[in-house]
Structure formats: structure tokens, C-alpha cells
């Protein structure tokens, strides 16, 4: 399931073309209540675009057409962790330096420390998440 909250009527091609002017955040979250809330939050409170997918395969799939500027990944995804997904995305052309935020009810601190990943625990303060997003996309 792919939701393009910001521009539901445009196709992927035109969406990609506009990236230069408007940064895109890819949210990977298998719990749709949290995922939809995150997208709503980002759309309402930031100038960035937000895309939601619910598992790692969809993320890898969408990456072929769209190069996001920031990843917000749930840690506990089906079939792979958010950190595993980050590692895989990180090896792809154009994504070598993409920043990432891992959100989790149970943060794997040692795994985060080895990478340049920011961890945010669930539940979180909106100001913390929004502040981190702004900092990473500045």
C-alpha cells in the first residue's frame, strides 16, 4: 500500500521531478494507525512530502522510482528490522548518505550507535520528532 498524501493525483514520474524543490520523507511503518498519523503530522506540521509504505519490500520497490531525502523507519517490521532495511537502502546508488530515524517501542541502542541513525522511542513528543526531522533535512 502506497500513500502519497501530498499529491494523490500525480504519477511517480512527475513526483520525482519535483524532488529538487520539495524534500521527501519515506515512512516505513507496519502499524497503519501510527503510519497514517506520522504522514498526517509531517504534512500538517512540515513543508516536506511524506510517503508511507508498510514493509521493507515495498520500500525497496518504491526506491527504484523515488529517491527520498529522509527515512523514518519502524524497527519492528515484518520479515526484517528497520535497521536491516536501512543498511540495504544505504548501499543503493544515491542513498549512500541518506539520514535515518528509527522509531521503536524498544530501541536497539547498540545497533543505532554503530550507524548514523537517530533513535526515537515510542511514544514520542511531537516536538522531538519534528525537531529531529528539521535538523536532518536542514
Amino acid at each position: 500500500m502506497i500513500e502519497e498524501e501530498t499529491m494523490p493525483h500525480k504519477n511517480e514520474q512527475s513526483f520525482a521531478q519535483e524532488q529538487g524543490t520539495n524534500k521527501t520523507i519515506l515512512v516505513v511503518e507496519d502499524d497503519t494507525s501510527i503510519g497514517e498519523f506520522l504522514v498526517q503530522l509531517l504534512v500538517q506540521e512540515t513543508p516536506y512530502r511524506a510517503l508511507l509504505v508498510t514493509d521493507g519490500f515495498q520500500a525497496l520497490d518504491i526506491i527504484r522510482n523515488i529517491k527520498p531525502d529522509l527515512l523514518i523507519l519502524d524497527y519492528r517490521l515484518q520479515k526484517m528490522t528497520g535497521v536491516d532495511l536501512y543498511d540495504r537502502l544505504h548501499t543503493m546508488t544515491g542513498l549512500e548518505h541518506i539520514p535515518g530515524i528509527i522509531i521503536s517501542a524498544n530501541l536497539p541502542k547498540d545497533e543505532l550507535q554503530k550507524r548514523t541513525l537517530v533513535g526515537i522511542s515510542k511514544p514520542f513528543e511531537l516536538s522531538d520528532l519534528l525537531g529531529t526531522v528539521d535538523k536532518l533535512l536542514a
Partner: protein, 506 residues
């Protein structure tokens, strides 16, 4: 017969005559002498005729069995051994008459009915013509030894049964000569056979899971050299390929110079327990996810709604939502605390290692709590100007908990003081309240899990008794200390000290 020999005989006869007179005299004295000994030896000496009737009974027999000689004359020793069947006596007697002394241990009964154990030797008594005329039994009281032996046996038996019931194997390693003895159960636990497996330290290590070998070896060395107690969990892989979890507890004995002589240990299978732990850990992970997911959405949507209403300038509903948020945060903390306690129990509480500016950490927390606590003025005194290494979130949790408690337990006061001081090696942060205080008898227990002061007065304060336990664990894991000083009615001071990070000066 020759003349010489006849003369000789008459001379001998004479001499024999005198000898006889001397001998008779000596015999009387000897008899007297021997009778005195017989009377006075502590052993029981009993003489019977061939039919078993007692004809002699000495003082020793009286003191062992309690019967006097008069009482026992003409009766038989069977009275003394009510438990022994006649059938038991017969072969013994036959053996004795064949000239073999009978030696045995018997359980008898004293006159007063109590049990007595004796060690008896029975010899056949013959007259000068070599004919059997009776039996002499010499016996010793061995009750004390028997009781001790039985106690030892029963304690060994108890130990054996307990080890069997607990499926515990025991082993004994002679460190000096490097020989190891295993009980049957240890062989079974490792899936090897007593006939084919030679127990040495090296061979034992081949049975340890490759990933655990270094750890096991290190633990053994540490316990030998550092006199550390040896307790370890590891996996063993049997030659059949089965992996089992094993726990070993051992103690080492040392010679006066401190060199290890012997290591004695108990080994048991904890595979099932480990599987349960794994299931529990999985459950914790799942529960933390399941509980926090709806809270996350709830909190997020509440805050989002609040932002929207704020923009519209609607202060009334914003206030209501703020109150909702406080309750959501409280719920979050309870869930987090419950999960933390479970994780501490499982040894699975994760810690990050960051370089932290302590003063900033404390100031941020104080400011955050001040925003939510209009009733008390929080004041921070002093500064450490130091860095520490640790988990900022976890340490923040500790100070949040202490300041939160300070406010909670001082409903009539209006301030909480936070002092930060430092010495060469440590920083100390103390949180002082002017509240109800903690009675002396509770002060040592308040860091225990689920401990709540049970005084009537204190029941007015809500909570699950997890915060201080978690704080204690976190501080301890950072190599620090936490303690309390309190006077009833005067308030409490909780203090945390943490080691300072010493940085190399460039």
C-alpha cells in the same frame, strides 16, 4: 628306659613336685590377678556353658547391659538380643566350635529397653583335656560409633537422593594433578559414556559450544587465580549433536599460599528454564510493542490536535488536552516501568554509552519537570562541570524519578532543591524535599523491587514501587551509587553519585 634317664626322671619328679607347689601358689595369685582384670575391664566378658546358660558375667557386662551378674546367672544371652533369631545363633556357634572365632556387630537391648550396639568376639572355651565346655564372649560398646555412622550414611543418602531428584551431577577436579572425577549424571548431561570419554579439562572444553568456550575457559581461570566464585551458564553440544544449556556452580579450595588445590562443582541441565526465559523475553518484546503502539497514536493525535487548536487560539480545549496528555504520559511511564522491571529481571536492560555533560542533563530535566509542576519551585544549586559516560535517557529516568518523588511526597511544601557537587572522581547529585520523610525502618528497603512503605500515612501516595528499584539498577550499572537520608516529617534527600569521565588532555 636307661638308668640315666630313670635317674633323670626322679630328679625331674622332685623338681616337678616343687615346681608344682610354686605353680599352685602362683596359680592362686594368677587367678586372683586375672579375676581382677576380668572384673575391671570395660569390655563385657560373658561365659556360657555349651547350652548357652550364663555362668560368668563381669562388671563390664553390667555397665554395658545394665543387668547384674546375679540377674543373669543361668539365663541366656538371647535376652540381650531380642532382634536376633535363633537361626542366626546356630551357625555362629557351629563355626565357633570348629575353632574359628566369631566376630560381629550386634544390636542389643539394655535392661532399661534402650538399644546398644556391640562389637563381639566369641571364642570356644576348652578344658585341659581339649574338650569344649562353653563359650567366652568379649564385647565392646560401639553405640556412639554406630550412631555417628548411621547419621553419616543417612546424610550421604539424603545428599544422594537430593542430587538425583534435582538431576544434579557433581564433579571433583584435582587441580594439582589435573585429574577430574565426574558422577554418572555429569556424563549423561554431556551425552558421553563413562567407558569412552576421558575426563580432562581439555576434553571437557570440546563438549562446550564453540561460542561459549572462551567464556567458560576464562571463568575457570578467573576463579582459580582471582578466588572468584564460579557460576556459569553455557551450552554443551553432545556428540549426538544435541545442544543443551548447562549451569555450573563450583567452589575452589586453596592451599595456605593461595594456590588452587581442588575445584568441586555441581552441574545441571537448565535447557527448559532457558527456553522459558526466551519465551518470556519474546513476550516482553511483543508486549512492549503491543502496549506502546496505541499509546503512541493516542499521544501523537492528542498533541497534533492541541497544536491545531492552539493555532486557532482556542485555549479552553487546549487546557483539557494538556490534562489528557499528562495522563497519557503517566500511563506511558507505568508501561515503561513494568517493562523495565521485567527486562532487569531478565538481565536485558540495554544501555547506550554516550559522553554526557551532566550539568546540562540535570538542567534539562529540572526545566522539563518545572513546566509540569506548578506547585513546587525547583532550584538547581552548584555545577559539576564534568562529563560522565552512560545512557542519557536512562540516567534522565533516574533523576526524573527522584524529582517526581520529591514533589509527590511533599504535598505541603513548595520547593525541591537539587544540588550538584563534584569531587576528583565522582559527581553527586542530590534531590532534597521538605515532605513527609521516610521512617528509618523502611529506608534500607525502598530500593527493593515492588517495595512500598506500608504506613497508613503513605498509602495516600499512588505508585507501584518500581521507580526506585529501576533507579537503583540503572545507577549501579553506571558504576555509581544511590542512597537516601531522611527524617520523618522533615523530608528526604536522595543522592546519586556517578564516576567522572577523565579525558586525556591534549
Amino acid at each position: 628306659m636307661t638308668e640315666t634317664s630313670s635317674r633323670k626322671r626322679s630328679a625331674e619328679g622332685l623338681s616337678a613336685f616343687f615346681q608344682n607347689i610354686i605353680a599352685r601358689k602362683q596359680t592362686r595369685e594368677q587367678l586372683q590377678f586375672q579375676a581382677t582384670i576380668l572384673r575391671n575391664v570395660s569390655e563385657s566378658v560373658i561365659v556360657t556353658d555349651l547350652q548357652g546358660h550364663i555362668v560368668y558375667w563381669n562388671e563390664g557386662a553390667t555397665s554395658i547391659f545394665g543387668y547384674t551378674a546375679e540377674e543373669m546367672m543361668d539365663s541366656t544371652p538371647a535376652i540381650l538380643y531380642p532382634e536376633a533369631a535363633q537361626a542366626q545363633f546356630v551357625p555362629d556357634i557351629r563355626q565357633t566350635r570348629e575353632g574359628k572365632d566369631y566376630i560381629g556387630e550386634w544390636r542389643g537391648r539394655r535392661k532399661d529397653g534402650t538399644a546398644v550396639w556391640i562389637d563381639i568376639k566369641t571364642t570356644v572355651l576348652r578344658n585341659t583335656r581339649g574338650e569344649d565346655i562353653g563359650f567366652i564372649g568379649v564385647a565392646k560398646d560401639i553405640t556412639a560409633r554406630k550412631v555417628a555412622e548411621e547419621a553419616l550414611l543417612s546424610s550421604e543418602e539424603r545428599l544422594r537422593l537430593a542430587l538425583e531428584a534435582g538431576n544434579i551431577g557433581v564433579w571433583d577436579w584435582d587441580v594439582e594433578h589435573n585429574t577430574v572425577t565426574w558422577s554418572q549424571r555429569v556424563y549423561e548431561l554431556h551425552g558421553v559414556s563413562k567407558d569412552s570419554f576421558v575426563v580432562t579439562l581439555e576434553n571437557f572444553l570440546t563438549l562446550v559450544h564453540p561460542e561459549d568456550q572462551a567464556r567458560v575457559q576464562q571463568a575457570i581461570e578467573q576463579s582459580l587465580t582471582e578466588h572468584a566464585p564460579f557460576n556459569i551458564h553455557f551450552r554443551t553440544v553432545t556428540p549426538q549433536g544435541e545442544t543443551r544449556w548447562i549451569t555450573i556452580s563450583a567452589s575452589v579450595t586453596y592451599d595456605p599460599a593461595g594456590n588452587p588445590i581442588r575445584m568441586l562443582g555441581a552441574t545441571s541441565d537448565i535447557t527448559q528454564q532457558k527456553e522459558l526465559e526466551q519465551r518470556k523475553d519474546d513476550f516482553i518484546g511483543m508486549a512492549s510493542h503491543e502496549l506502546k503502539t496505541p499509546i503512541t497514536t493516542l499521544k501523537g493525535l492528542t498533541q497534533l490536535l492541541k497544536r491545531g487548536l492552539k493555532k486557532q487560539g482556542l485555549s479552553e480545549p487546549v487546557l483539557v488536552l494538556s490534562k489528557m496528555e499528562i495522563q497519557i504520559d503517566r500511563l506511558t511511564r507505568l508501561v515503561n516501568d513494568l517493562l523495565d522491571v521485567t527486562k532487569i529481571q531478565a538481565g536485558r536492560l540495554n544501555y547506550a554509552e554516550e559522553r554526557l555533560a551532566l550539568d546540562t542533563l540535570i538542567r534539562d530535566i529540572v526545566e522539563t519537570i518545572q513546566l509540569m509542576s506548578p506547585t513546587h519551585t525547583l532550584t538547581m544549586y552548584g555545577a559539576s562541570n564534568s562529563y560522565i559516560v552512560g545512557d542519557g535517557d536512562r540516567l534522565g529516568q533516574v533523576f526524573l524519578n527522584l524529582i517526581d518523588n520529591a514533589i509527590k511526597y511533599s504535598p505541603k511544601a513548595n520547593k525541591v532543591d537539587i544540588h550538584v557537587t563534584s569531587s576528583e572522581n565522582a559527581v553527586t547529585v542530590s534531590v532534597r524535599d521538605y515532605g513527609v520523610g521516610i521512617p528509618k525502618e523502611h529506608q534500607s528497603k525502598i530500593f527493593d523491587r515492588f517495595y512500598r512503605v506500608s504506613d497508613e500515612r503513605m498509602k495516600a501516595f499512588p505508585g507501584l514501587g518500581m521507580g526506585l528499584y529501576i533507579s537503583y539498577e540503572i545507577v549501579e550499572r553506571h558504576g555509581g551509587e544511590i542512597w537516601v537520608a531522611s527524617e520523618e516529617g522533615e523530608g528526604s534527600t536522595f543522592a546519586v553519585s556517578l564516576p567522572i569521565l577523565k579525558e586525556a588532555v591534549n
